[in-house]
């Protein structure tokens, strides 16, 4: 068994990037995720794997550097926290429109505005409903541990390239800052120039050869019919992702009558809530969406007939609960419990809130 190292979630992201053959990281410091770039600079991967690491002048530049790198068929990424990700919304929309793969890590903090540097899940809407302008989706993974932070980097790149979509790891300050034991995977070498060409020559700016005309990466289509066709094409791709890429976990749902839906750090806290409810004789279970897009709609839907109620537990004022309500569609009551400003509820607090409802 591989050695386990005690590191922060943010450090796990940086190490995973090097280990999975990432070509470039472009970032701008912001709490609570600055350790990602700090770790990369300390590790100097440009001397080992040849990975480029660059501190940009702003989040706007970071995401546009990622755009440039992605145009070349490279595995490129950035990381930031909520206010910085708002600045990246323009770039993400462009990349979704131009069908470019990339990875953005958002270690969420409380908002709106400059908000707080404490953990939050307040960017759920921004992340899964778009964030930037236009009709688009990203592949969104919500880690709940240091190991998830490490493993999801490789996973995100895999899916991003499979569908040519931007991918996001939507973590929060807890997952980014918490130190946990993380098991490292075997090193994947960076793709060679030949491999990049073999994989991406049909669309990427890898240099025009004699065998083809110049490739153009653009999200511009002034002809209404062309733009509509492009939108339909994008939606078909997202539908395929909903078919094939849903990830989720359940906990004690077999005979559950009451279901908690929670992602990220709240899914771990709510496991204890479920245990405490079970000790009191209440048949409670938990479903944790691992991918927030695609959302485990079918899986929640399948549980609804056995349930008496659902509660969505989030570190915000109620965002994912809207998606859960849509799935329940009036068949069972859907409650919400959340804290904001960086306050993390205890398992008991969640249980008490749920008991008040039922």
């Amino acid at each position: 068994m591989a050695e386990k190292i005690l590191i922060k979630g943010n450090e796990a992201i940086a190490i995973a990037a090097i280990h999975c053959g990432c070509d470039g990281y472009f970032g701008y410091p912001i709490t609570p995720q600055s350790e990602v770039m700090e770790t990369l600079m300390k590790e100097k991967p440009w001397e080992t794997t040849g990975m480029v690491v660059l501190q940009a002048e702003s989040e706007t530049s970071s995401i546009n550097m990622v755009y440039g790198g992605a145009c070349c068929g490279k595995k490129v990424m950035t990381s930031s926290s909520s206010p910085g990700v708002s600045l990246m919304a323009e770039g993400l929309s462009y990349m979704a429109g131009a069908e470019l793969p990339c990875l953005v890590v958002n270690v969420m903090r409380g908002g709106p505005g400059l908000g707080t540097i404490q953990p939050s899940q307040g960017d759920y809407f921004q992340t899964v409903k778009g964030g930037g302008h236009g009709d688009y989706k990203m592949y969104v993974l919500a880690p709940a541990s240091g190991q998830d932070m490490y493993d999801f980097v490789d996973k995100a790149f895999e899916v991003a390239f499979k569908y040519r979509v931007p991918a996001m790891i939507l973590a929060d300050g807890v997952i980014g800052q918490m130190m946990e034991k993380v098991e490292f995977r075997p090193m994947k070498p960076r793709r060679t120039e030949e491999e990049v060409k073999a994989l991406c020559d049909s669309w990427a700016t890898v240099g025009k050869g004699a065998h083809r005309g110049g490739n153009t990466i653009t999200s511009l289509a002034l002809d209404p019919e062309v733009q509509e066709r492009h939108n339909i094409h994008l939606q078909a791709k997202y539908a395929k992702m909903e078919e094939n890429e849903v990830l989720y976990e359940t906990y004690r749902t077999e005979d559950a009558e009451h279901l908690i839906v929670a992602f990220g750090c709240m899914s771990r806290i709510c496991q204890n809530t479920v245990d405490e409810a079970r000790e009191k004789g209440i048949k409670m279970g938990l479903i944790r969406p691992i991918t927030l897009f695609p959302f485990p709609k079918k899986e929640i839907d399948a549980l609804v007939p056995q349930l008496k109620s659902i509660m969505s537990v989030e570190l915000n004022t109620g965002q994912m609960v809207e998606d859960v309500r849509q799935i329940a569609n009036g068949r069972v009551p859907v409650y919400f419990y959340g804290r904001q400003g960086g306050i993390i509820p205890s398992p008991e607090e969640v249980l008490e809130a749920y008991m008040k409802q039922i």
């Binding site: 706007t60 440039g68 070349c72 700016t205 005309g213």
Partner: protein, 253 residues
Amino acid sequence: MDIKDIIKPENKVYGRTPVLKDNVMHYCPGCSHGTVHKLIAEVIEEMGIQDKTIGISPVGCSVFAYNYLDIDWQQAAHGRAPALATATKRLNPDKYVFTYQGDGDLASIGCAEIMHACSRGENIVVIFINNAIYGMTGGQMAPTTLLGMVTATTPYGRDPKLNGFPLKITELIAQLEGTCYVTRQSVQNPASARKAKKAIRKAFENSAMGKGTSFVEIVATCNSGWKMSPVKANKWMEENMFPFYPLGDMKDR
């Protein structure tokens, strides 16, 4: 003498570079973009770097530069071309990477990106078209619009109290340690176009030598936006633009 005796390879004095695609340009008659596109295409052909050149097009009239030069292109968001170019060049050091940007794109919304790319000394080429107006959106004030100049958003002429002063961004760029070659050129007649082409070629050669950022400003006309005939626009440029934006090299090292 028969015409066939004249049309021979050895008598050829001019040809259209194959780097230019066979597409009809959307630019207005008299616009400087077409000339600058041709010069870049010729430099790419002469240096034999068509398969190694990646262009970054801006937002503005020249967003469609990718329709005219047969190379690989990235189309950037407004002002962000230097950020795309930075990553593209760093991830592909053997490629020639250039941005093509107008005055609104480069000197207004993209100020941070161009300043920092030049300050870092990215080994890229920047072609900066300064026609002192926003062309594509219909002739609004640009950062480089001259004082007194009438535009759609300065209908009574640019007034420094209301609208601030025109920005000599190329002079600022020349102060940055990362730039190796900063020059201001024009293309309104064959002599100036030849000089501009030499400057563009030098910029691409600098890139191969890893000397830092090369920045070529072209003072240009937008006769549609200026509401002048092409001939009058050229004359107006010489009389009004050149005194404020003097031509020549600002830095060459």
